[in-house]
Amino acid sequence: DYTKEKKAGEGTYAVVYLGTKKSTGRSIAVKEIKTSQFKDGLDMSALREVKFLQELKHVNVIELVDVFMANDNLNLVLEFLPADLEIIIKDTSIMFSPADIKSWILMTLRGVHHCHRNFILHRDLKPNNLLLAPDGQLKIADFGLARLMASPQEILTSNVVTRWYRAPELLFGAKHYTSAVDIWSVGVIFAELMLRIPYLPGKDDVDQINVTFRALGTPTDADWPEVSSFSNYNKIQIYPPPSREELRRRFIAATENALELISGMMIMNPKKRWDAVKCLQSQYFQELPEPTLPQDLP
């Protein structure tokens, strides 16, 4: 029922084709997963994509249309999403307004909220995993690093989330982190949408720690109890947190409520960081301008 008309990309474990669902004429993307590639059977990223996308149905999460085996390859049929937020941010010929930014962040937070209320952590939120549908809807994609919220005593790997969007607790090697890591990533994306350049572009993992704390201040036990117990805490430089004035200068187009939201999403202590519900209920989404309707977005 599916055609593969054009190769759209090739990753480590999959080749992506654009095609059509014949019975409906719907444009689709087929992610063909090479099964021979992974000596341990089905690749973990593919397994996670299938496991979680089968359970999530939300306008702001990419839809898994079908899954099937064909000539020993696993095929994920996904809805066709021609663009992503990274393309939009980088293409300076595209002008976008504060209302557009508000719309993209609102849709991102709705998608993240749906994952979190199903106790699923995405763990790789970044602009090129936020895809854009022809009708303007933003959809969270690439669940290759996703996992269920940990059982209480479970140990998680901190080697997740693409570096620039990685939360401080992950930079410190935390093993019992929560969905707060996704909220941090959304905060960085929000900043990038306003600045049109990456907000915390570390050259490597060590530099990432430095870049993060130089921009946002080094956390102390006062605001983040036990942060000094992380093994690599002592090696880091102590920087003061930015003043409100400094934040205003950094995000000149941002309203007070926008600064409130981005500060809430990027609170160092994960325990105090805002969760998806608190973000969605923030004043920023209740003040003018109203978020641009998806179909009117660039």
Partner: protein, 47 residues
């Protein structure tokens, strides 16, 4: 379902297992949240 069939009242729960974890340094530093655990268990019970 607007009305969840439970109230999350953290200080009413005597859960020694979770409470012990909350006191561990590595859990505190990681941002471990007992209320997230309770919310998940209660959601699974009342879904």
């Amino acid at each position: 379902d607007l009305h969840k069939r439970y109230e999350l009242v953290e200080n009413e729960y005597n859960d020694s297992f979770i409470r012990d974890l909350q006191k561990k340094k590595e859990y505190i530093a990681s941002g471990f949240r007992a209320d997230f655990i309770y919310d998940r268990m209660l959601t699974e019970a009342f879904m």
